[in-house]
C-alpha cells in the first residue's frame, strides 16, 4: 500500500467515525471494511478508541439527573387534576354530569 493509498483509506475511515461508533453505517460491508482498516492502522484505531471513550464518558456521567421529589409530586398531582378536568369537559359535552361525579368519587377512593 502506497502512502497516498494509505491516506485515502484513513480518510474514508475517519469520514465514517461517528456512524461507526453510533452503529449507524448504512451497510455491513462498509462496517467490515472499516473494521479491517482499524486492525491494520494504529493511528485510526487510536482515534476511534478516543471517540468511543468520549461517548461512554458522556453516557456514564450524564445518565444521573434524578427527579427531585417535589417535582415528581407536583407533576403527579397535575396529571390527576388534568384527568378530572378532561373528564369534566367530555362529560359536559355529552351532558352527563353524573360521570364527573363518578370520577370525583372514584378519585377520592370510595369505590375500593
Amino acid at each position: 500500500v502506497t502512502g497516498a493509498e494509505q491516506a485515502g483509506l484513513c480518510g474514508q475511515a475517519m469520514a465514517h467515525m461517528d456512524e461507526f461508533i453510533d452503529d449507524e453505517l448504512p451497510t455491513v460491508d462498509v462496517r467490515e471494511r472499516i473494521s479491517a482498516h482499524l486492525l491494520a492502522c494504529p493511528g485510526c484505531r487510536a482515534e476511534f478508541d478516543q471517540e468511543e471513550r468520549l461517548k461512554q464518558l458522556v453516557r456514564r456521567t450524564c445518565a444521573c439527573d434524578s427527579v427531585p421529589d417535589e417535582v415528581r409530586a407536583r407533576i403527579e398531582i397535575r396529571i390527576a387534576q388534568l384527568r378530572v378536568q378532561l373528564e369534566h369537559v367530555t362529560d359536559e359535552r355529552l351532558g352527563y354530569e353524573q360521570v364527573t361525579l363518578t370520577a370525583e368519587w372514584r378519585r377520592s377512593g370510595f369505590d375500593r
Binding site: 469520514a15 417535582v71 388534568l82
Partner: protein, 217 residues
Amino acid sequence: MVDDTTGGGVPPAEADVDVATETEDERKARFDRDVLPLMGPLYGNAMRLTRNADDAADLVQSTFERAYKGFRQYRPGTNLKAWLFKIQSNAFINDYRKKQRQPLLADSDEVEDWQMHRAQSHGAVGLRSAETEVLETLPEQAVVDALDQLSDDYREAVWLADVEGLRYQEIADIMGTPIGTVMSRLHRGRRQLRSLLASHARDYGYLSRNDTPGADS
C-alpha cells in the same frame, strides 16, 4: 402515584394494544404504566435543554400535560421515549425558547462545512491518545458543565445519541431536521465537547499546557 387506575384492570402489553377499541380507563392505566416511569429521562433532557432546575421542572410538567392530552396519537409499538422527547422539544421551543427570544442558529452552511471537516485524516483533528484517559478522571460536574456550554442544537444531538441511545432517524424526527444535520451537529458537538473538557483539564492542572488539542503537526 396517580390513583385513577382502579377501573382499568391490567393494560395489555405495549404491542398488543388496539387503540381503536381501548377504553378510556385502559388508556389511563397504560399512561401510568408506560409514560410516568419515563419522568427520569425527560427530566434529564429538560435539565440539558433549559440548564436550570426551575425551568426543567416546568418543562417536564408541560411535557406530561401535552403527552397526556395527546396520548391517543401515540402509536403503540413505536419508540415511546422518542415520542415524548419530540413533545418535549416542541414544548421547549414554544414555551421557553420563544420567551427568551433566543434566535435559532442558522443552519444553512452547516452540513457542507462538516463534510469538508470530517474528511480530514486522523492527526489533523484528533488529540493524543493519552488525552481521553485524563478526561476520564475529571469530576462529573466538569463533564456536565462542558455539555451545558455547547450550543442548544449540539447539546441536544449529543445528549439524545450518547445518553439516550436514540437512532439518527429518531433524533432527526425530534429535532425536525434532515439526518445530515443531525450527523453534523453530533460531530461538531463531540469535537467541541472534547476541546472544552481538555481546556478544563488544563485549567485545573490535569493536563499540561503543552497538550494543546488540534495542534498536532
